[in-house]
Symmetry: C3
């Protein structure tokens, strides 16, 4: 999907504000990792651990940071190579051109307001009163419910569902199959059945949020479920009703956040983490993979495990756990040795600790 003609290293150096070490007339036609790159590709060395791979690479040129030298080819040197890699990839893989207009097979309600610069793909449904902003791309088979709003420049990939009344800011990207604004999970048991509590609130997704494939973000019971600016959410994540997630947080795949919990800004929830309901996770907290959070988390805390504890503490406990069977044997041996010593000294055996079965009472 690259740009066949490619770029000269001189052109790339100018575009990336890079210092070129090598021939500015040399042409490259693609970007590839160190081990896959050939002479027509530019590769990159961002993590110094890959230095040896870079020396072996057949790449025609290298994007590198300030401290790299002695690679087998021309180098484009920049201060922040990972940021420059983003620009490099965007040069070789520009977004496909936007073709404004509504596909003939799309079903757009007469009173929906679709900006003239937006692109509505085949078999898309846009319901009554929905608002679609400038340069929005709505891909095939997506659904925009009654009164929903899609901010300028946003992208709804194929088969996204944006339910009635949900509001997306500008530059939001939603991946296939995500569902934004389904009913929250709320019932009141009346002694016989679980009666459904009407879920009449909304969802607000702020600017520059990205939402992964098949992720679900429920509407609030009352009020709003809110995802703040710049937060990135991976695939198959569950965000329950009335949750609020602060700006610039990272929510990795298969995380679940239960109802009414508030996640701060710059938080990282790693894969498969679960957050119980009505909790607060402070700004900058880091929750490692699979952890289960059942209490409030202070800003900047780094937690691991179920129950979640400070990372270093959980790891220390895990190490000692390995010795647990041996500790049980050693404790029994110590008790026997104590008994022998007490016998030797004629000391009465102490009252034994309560039996283990005492632990089983409820």
């Amino acid at each position: 999907m690259g740009k066949a003609a490619g770029f000269t290293l001189g052109e790339l150096a100018a575009a990336l504000h890079a210092t070129l070490v090598g021939d500015p007339g040399r042409n490259v036609t693609g970007v590839a990792p160190l081990d896959a790159a050939g002479p027509d590709d530019i590769s990159f060395l961002i993590d110094p651990r890959y230095g040896a791979a870079a020396k072996r690479s057949r790449a025609g040129a290298f994007l590198v940071g300030p401290d790299v030298s002695a690679l087998p080819g021309p180098m484009l040197r920049v201060a922040a190579p990972q940021q420059a890699l983003i620009d490099l990839l965007a040069l070789f893989h520009p977004a496909p051109p936007l073709t404004p207009g509504i596909a003939p097979s799309a079903i757009v309600a007469p009173d929906a307001r679709v900006d003239a610069t937006a692109s509505i793909g085949p078999l898309v449904v846009v319901e009554s009163g929905a608002v679609v902003g400038a340069a929005v791309r709505i891909h095939a088979l997506a659904f925009v419910g009654r009164g929903a709003e899609i901010g300028g420049g946003s992208i709804l990939h194929p088969r996204v569902v944006v339910c009635a009344g949900v509001k997306l800011g500008r530059g939001v990207i939603v991946h296939p199959g995500a569902v934004i604004g389904a009913d929250g999970f709320g019932y009141a048991f009346d002694g016989q059945v679980h009666r459904k509590i009407p879920q009449v609130g909304g969802v607000i997704i702020e600017d520059d949020v990205e939402i992964g494939a098949n992720t679900t973000i429920d509407r609030a019971t009352l009020g709003q479920t809110v995802i703040r600016r710049g937060t990135k959410i991976d695939n198959l994540v569950q965000i329950a009703h009335n949750v609020e997630i602060g700006a610039h947080s990272i929510i990795v795949a298969q995380v679940g956040v239960s109802g009414s919990s508030r996640i701060g800004r710059n938080v990282v929830l790693a894969g498969q983490v679960g957050i119980a309901d009505h909790l607060t996770v402070g700004d900058g907290a880091l929750i490692l993979a699979q952890s289960g959070i059942a209490r409030n988390v202070e800003p900047g805390e780094r937690l691991l495990g179920t129950p979640a504890r400070a990372v270093v503490q959980s790891k220390r406990i895990w190490v000692v756990q390995e010795q647990l069977p041996a500790m049980a044997r050693r404790l029994r041996a110590a008790e026997r040795r104590l008994q022998r010593l007490e016998g030797q000294l004629g000391i009465a055996a102490p009252e034994p600790p309560r039996p283990e079965t005492a632990d089983d009472e409820r």
Copy 2:
């Protein structure tokens, strides 16, 4: 999305069978939580922990239980305020009117039987032999497979998939993206490859079940996967082939129930719980979040953790785990003290316990 004209407190008192303390002519136009409500809203105080928030609230009226008094505004007093809140929300947010008929863009097989009072939205597919009952709402882009049946009053939200032959009872609600009746995960390894075991059974969803967004419920290998009456299933839940879930159970988001397991009635499986295959979970059991169930569960058991243990026992173990590194040090210290005492008394050191590496054999 509320009813702009609103209701007088007198009208609400009549509708909710409430005792009104205040002016029956006063009008409210919406329902809002205590902290968000303004003078035109009615709010509610169900959980006494929010009493202080209620006293601060600017709400124009309050729905309250029997023991509440001294709030800064008129009160509608009822015996069961949470149940009354459901009625109140339904008054202000009535279901949108049902428009019977089949959207011109829907693809409905000629031999499908669609009740004249059902509503089939745009770009819906209803395959051959399917049966759609009275007052059913099938929203845009949903799919109803060959021979499937949708009972009266059920709602399929946008983009639901109901596969061939699946049977839904009356009043079932299915949220966007849910897939009911995909093949179960069954293979037989023939020494070379995993051969697919045809999954030729069905799925039965009884009356008043609700199924969350992007949840998957697989068809049985033979026989039926069954979800009994009134059970509520949250988002991103996996129900494997031949599972049976009893009536009025609650299955929270991201739970997985493995093949052929039988979950009782009035069971609660909290978020991210996993149930292994071919197990029985008794009526009324409560399994707390993230627990892993690898054995049968008795009726009424309350379990937590992996491995799952009685809640109180798991919590006690978790508390002691925090001391585990210290316990390891204290045990080593005790052994040294024993050695010193034994030396003092001229007692031969006992045979040491088996080395820890003995724990590593398989």
Copy 3:
């Protein structure tokens, strides 16, 4: 959904290469489990634990292995009854006939290459440059992106999304709602915001892979995400960018595999397992349910738990954990006994071990 006319036992014996004990003219019209089968059904006894149920069964005939006898009806005896059951089910439940052609409501780009023997269902979207092979079945509401390729004999169930450029081999089955080729989850924090790293790689799904409902498999950042031949993936699984999964592996529901990890061949990842990024799981490894893998796994290892340990070791630790509260009490008692002995012998108390709070430092 069976074949109403059925088969004689003679016909079945010939088709299954079975030895018939009983009347070859007897007719059966369906396959059913032992407890549900009636006189017109053939049942099966594969697992000897169900011998008693077989003796009670009302089935009209039984498919059995070499060592079974004395059942209450005719027997079809085969060397490998589970394999024969697959053939038996396929006889009674043949795949619905393939009707080649493109449904009038499907939107197929003029330059897509769709084989004349392929079947494209209603409201399917096939974008520009896509290639659809012989005898492929693409069911209703599915999406095949720009330049994607679907190998011969593959089945895309309703509402599958195959994104641009993704390549599926022959005989691939994809269940409803699965998303193949959404963007990987990659960002670079620039000090202010998480900048999106363009995800410009692809996905390769080799022959005979099966992918479950609502599962997500992300495209690579650069290069390819690869699922090798014959691997079976259950529902709601997350496969991140640049992952490679070897041939004939089994990935059970709700598993998550993080970016760039390499899973070997003949691996089993049981339900809800999480694999961290950039790891290697060796051929033939078995990871039991809910385990969290944060290190490389050797070929053939069998792991359980978080942190994952050898199955037997995790189970032994779990057993000892139950005694942990009692061990804490017994250790305190032993320390008191030591103190008493030391006092008796006039030995100075040793320096106490470091206080527990020392464990809490970061």
